[in-house]
Symmetry: C2
Subunit: 380 residues, 2 copies
Amino acid sequence: MTMEFMTGRALRPTTKVLPEHARSHNRSLVLQTLYRAGERSRADVARETGLTRVTVSDLVAELMAEGLIIELGQREGSRPGKPATLLDLNRGAYQIVGLDLSAFEIFRGALLDLDGGVIARAEVPLAGSTGADATAKVVALAEGLIAQATAPILGVGVGSPGVVDLAGVVLAAPNLGWRDEPLQATLASRLALPVLVANDANAAVLAEHSFGGADSDMMLVKVGHGVGAGLLLGGSLLRGSRFAAGELGHVVVGTHGGADCVCGKKGCLETWLATPRLDAAISAARASGNSTDPILREAGRHLGIALAPVVGALDLAEVVLSGPAELLDGPLMEATIETFAARTMAEFHSGLIVRMTTLGEDIVVRGAAAMVLSGQLGVS
Amino acid sequence: MTMEFMTGRALRPTTKVLPEHARSHNRSLVLQTLYRAGERSRADVARETGLTRVTVSDLVAELMAEGLIIELGQREGSRPGKPATLLDLNRGAYQIVGLDLSAFEIFRGALLDLDGGVIARAEVPLAGSTGADATAKVVALAEGLIAQATAPILGVGVGSPGVVDLAGVVLAAPNLGWRDEPLQATLASRLALPVLVANDANAAVLAEHSFGGADSDMMLVKVGHGVGAGLLLGGSLLRGSRFAAGELGHVVVGTHGGADCVCGKKGCLETWLATPRLDAAISAARASGNSTDPILREAGRHLGIALAPVVGALDLAEVVLSGPAELLDGPLMEATIETFAARTMAEFHSGLIVRMTTLGEDIVVRGAAAMVLSGQLGVS
């Protein structure tokens, strides 16, 4: 009887569907159509969404009253007497603040438009701040960006290091001295705006999905001072049973030992791939006149060894790397690709794409903006 | 505005919600409440689902007319003048056929009641059949079970080895000589019943979820002639980008070599864990008077090495093993647990549960029944 149960992801219906849910969903559907496709008439929107013209007209009227949709004028070549008025999302109606707390010793932020374009940037050095001092610097960074806004702020998105629950509580971020830090609630109260806080790699994976053309079954590996990942499976962000999905930095790689790790184990992924270790090894190689390629290839090979079972178990279509291109984009990534090929089944995984992100250093702030777009408007 | 977009799994609304979808969802919600909770009055159902009493009464009337819900009589102690009539799912209304095509050289099947209990069993030796001959044996097995039914058949569920798409086409099952075999369509046409075909490990993970009390973030590892897995993430079955999620048997384990595998690589998970290899090694140890524990522990350790990155990346709550208990349940599983602890972060994964399935050899036929319950009634 119900096809969604045969093919869909939800196994067990647990939440009632009320007429207002359908309306809210359909409202987002109209916004999403205009957000992605741009200039469309009411008839276009009805055709593309499958909604009736009456429903579309009702929803458009409501969304125009709220300033979220604007009329652009009549389509050229419209027949006289049957003018087709073009609509668009009112892309200037709001701006978004996106913050990236994951860089080493610096908090970065940006003011973005609804298309995820950066309008202004700001940053604040951490200077060793932890705990409440670090939280105060987040508030100050957000306030500075809000002050630069030339339109109302739709919301504030934050990508934080560490494990973050669904309420935006940072359960643990050791480098910032945060444990059970209610960052989302604190910011919402201080800024009097909608705020969404998520793990930085999860924000990055949303950016790659919204603005980077990523596949719906993909893993984004974020390499920096630490190593973490975000996973999009069947188009949905994976949270994990304890909100720790993607925390791969301290998984041991291979069975041949490795360097001591800060966590007490040996040969964790971070001992091979974190940028301080890689930079030090590369500096040493250069100082002694040696090629840096073997160091980069070994790092890439170990990334491949660690991720091959994940690629196999999840049947991923795409693995995207984010981090310093001068380290990742070359011998390192080539060795990762070769290692995947050597350690998984070609029959299933020969189509796997491994590539660098196209979003550069803005990936987390743009992902934070994507969180706000999704949370506030239901578009992505 | 829409909380489901802030916390939910779907990033992008792509399908319109129409009133009939809400009705169909709410219908399943009523069935699900009765299926799981048993005897309930209309008022109980309204309270537990959040639906209005009018909506519940309407849906119950419809479902009673279809024979899916029955009245059991009045609750004891009901106040005179306000009798509460108890309802239940009509558990005798239908029976289900579940087939397991994953055992070595034999197809197994069962007739099950709506609670997933086995009423009758049947099996047919494969005797080397492949291709159309194998398909004919599936049809015969199903027909034999249907002939034993004492109630109408709700549907036929099938757990097949290999890679199976959403339309129940077996894209590749080398042992059965199937490639792009439209098993679901063939069976539906031959049996004139609703049929659902899925990968055997995916069927098993659904059984563990519906009847085995599994967590909603879990991996089921199925060990037999081959090794495969099914993944439930956030309560939803993972399909993978090419319907090959859980195909872990030919991922290389560790970095210390290993035995030659049929796939051409060395040290694949199946070379450590598949039952023919384990049985042979154990027989040899026994013949020479040695303990079999080291063989089982090495197998378990390699399972742990292969799965540790998956446990870490997915933040799983539970890993469930299915297969011969005399091999898996003992030194093998203990070594897997120790290996997870040694290779992942205790902070995140110390709560990980690793256990045997409680469903024994019926896991796939019961999972096939769960597919039919979910697909036809929206309950699980």
